[in-house]
Amino acid sequence: MRRRRPLNRRWWGLVFVSPVVAYFAVFSIFPVMFGFALSLTDYDLLDPPNWVGLDNFYALFADRLFLTAFANTLVFVAGATVPVWLASLLAALLFDQAFRGRTVLKTLFFLPVLPPVVVVAVVWRMLLHPNGVMTWLAGAWRGVTEIDWLTNTVLAPLSMIAVHDWAAIPFFMLIWLAGLAGIPPELREAAHIDGATPLSTFWHIDLPLLRSTAVLVAALSTINAFQTFTLQYVLSPDPGGPANSTLVLGLLVLKYGFQYFRMGDAAAISVVMFALILAVTAAQLWFNRRAS
């Protein structure tokens, strides 16, 4: 008589992971492949896709709008990484000290992390009204009553960066604080006993141990900044404006894809963005490997 043997135990592992694998095959891996294929076609959602090879990519590098968006994205990335990296580190060092009211003040400082990006954009759009609160704070003492924060081609990209950094700095402070918490206090005490100044303690003890955190903050802020889109879409009275000065790659994907229905071109821009982001990830891994 044959007895039914229970399913070999290790196969249960396959059963447990299969829903997730199937889901990602359909909603992540397939669309990525499909996106690559799409970037090699002309497709307007109505007629069947038309194979054009690499023409979309050649066209992008002659496309003024794409080059503008590319340059604007690089400017935004510069403004959303270096200042954020420095300011969030300083904030973490500040709130890592012991002083009265530290917990309350840290919580207040952390508040910008709570609202979703769209809320950030809507609130700042009101604050940056030409005759609004920020104009009052920045201009009232010198008699200025109107500042075109969001409708001046020089100021608008800077306003985007400032608003982004306002929300990003407290978030990255958290990451630095987690890194600082991992440093054994004995090390600092030992340095203190040896007569090291706080600055040299930081330089010779904290900073080398924070190396992976430093790389992480740099990489993550760069990757986030490359994908920026919501701020430029919601904060500006004219998405991407004025005069395309805040047009970034993420916004251009939306414009080509869902306004002009040039799906092939939109997919090609996505591929370029993907390549940029992968390059950042690769740099992060390389830096981390070199550190260890």
Partner: protein, 277 residues
Amino acid sequence: MRARARGRLLLFLVAFAAAVVFAFPIWVMVTSAFKAEPEIQAIPIHWLPHDFQWLARFREAAEFAPLWRYFFNSTLLSLVHVAITVFFGALAGFGFAKYRFPGRGFLFFFVICTLMIPFQILVVPLFIEVKAFGWENSYPGLIIPGMMNAFGVFMMRQYAADLPDELLEAGRVDGAGEFHMFLRIVLPLLLPALTSLAIIVFIWSWGTFLWPLVIVQDRELNVLAVGLTNYSQPYQHAPMWGAAMAASTVATIPIAGLFVFFQRYFIKGLTAAAVKG
């Protein structure tokens, strides 16, 4: 000793200034939600409403656009995402951590690869795919893409790997089936990590903007994040700042609530997601 006290005072003053600068916009948002419309852009600023409006701005926001419907849709989307990611993330994480089956390494790599794909890369092809499914402008189209996050698998695999094998063996001796053991033994042990995961997934899904923007046209189906733009840039209408601030406050409350009630898990979730996201 005196130099030290002076140093502490200096630290306090710097921290105080930083906190004021960073909290200021949130203060303006919340107080403006209770101000009369002309008061909102008053110069100099009214730090507190002079003409306290109680809930009038919220009512106005709900009359101008289906604010509570948006709220419901955002809640539905976020809770489905949380439930799916937490349950299947734990299941797959456990599967990857504690079973040696053929193809394990490859499948894990396959799942982790999806972590590196930014959503903006997916939006165009995913839109075409979901449209082909006939899910455009519907709840399935809004909710299903993005309801599972590979970060959940990654995080849960790490926590499941730390579970002692003896506990699982004890469960097996008692004659429990593998899935039963997962439900009865593994899930409860993973609960603290699952709480952090649930919070971070809720935050992500609650703020999601790009996908609802392209996949949904009906205002009855839209989420709060997209609905908010109705107030700041209404079609052929001056911006309604009072209603916009009231709706923005509504959109921030769930996240603020999680922060207040689950602060430790909240911080843990955000940090874990950054480190491995």
